[in-house]
Symmetry: C2
Subunit: 157 residues, 2 copies
């Protein structure tokens, strides 16, 4: 269990932990892979969420996933760039990924972030609501580790 | 300042915080970009260190950096895949990046990791010694946040 006081500091201004959907670059599962390559080469994140026409999160996509997919479309050691405009994001995306909700315990968020650079945030209707990143969590951890020394006395048991 | 007890827990088994050089995928600055594309599409990390023939860290490289570079070699909206075998890793790599040493304060490590997915570790002779990742630091933070509750009493000032 995380101490109540530590959790309080970690979750101060909880809203700021999340990057809202409107500020996150996304792709549609029906986009072609050459469009995806262009988008992914211009955004700050190396992996971005994929949504479908109903605004549900259906996957994650990155340039390495795309390259991997077009290498699988023929002989393994060659990158088949001609396949880029024929294949869709849904052909290359990763579909196994964790999601969180607004009320997910911070402990679970932290645990899942050990293995993922960011987590997708869903509404109760499974709509895409934003992401929570390692960057924001590390900022908050940094703040908490400093603040605890100012606000509390730590005595060993 | 980070409280002494917190720093002690964060730095328990300090060696395990670092991934040693022998376990890190790297590229040479003289490798061609098509070789780099193949390596980057097969490794777990989206960005990897670049070293020169003297084993000094000279940059970081990712597939988006490569795509960006070959898009700059002509009209901006087209990806010029034919350039991949002509250009080298040194033409596309990022050369502005932070490094740390074995004795860098944990506080500085944490601060630098807010903006970088991993930090390169250098020896005193500027040789590449490994990396320290957000993943390992988050694992350690997780451990510390739980352990503090077991080992200490926290009283608000």
């Amino acid at each position: 269990m995380i101490h109540r006081k530590l959790e309080e500091l970690l979750l101060e201004e909880r809203d700021k932990l999340y990057v809202p959907a409107k500020n996150v670059a996304i792709l549609l599962d029906s986009n072609t892979l050459d469009h995806a390559m262009l988008v992914l080469s211009q955004v700050h994140y190396s992996v971005i969420p994929v949504i479908n026409k109903d605004n549900h999160i259906v996957g994650l996509i990155s340039i390495p996933m795309i390259i991997h997919q077009i290498m699988n479309e023929g002989s393994k050691d060659t990158i088949h760039f001609s396949q880029l405009h024929k294949l869709k994001v849904k052909d290359a995306m990763q579909t196994d990924f964790p999601t969180v909700h607004q009320d997910t315990d911070f402990e679970d968020v932290l645990n899942r972030l050990v293995n993922h650079n960011f987590l997708c945030l869903e509404t109760d209707e499974h709509k895409f609501a934003g992401i929570i990143t390692r960057k924001e969590v590390l900022k908050r951890v940094n703040y908490t580790l400093h603040e605890i020394d100012k606000q509390c006395i730590l005595t060993e048991k």
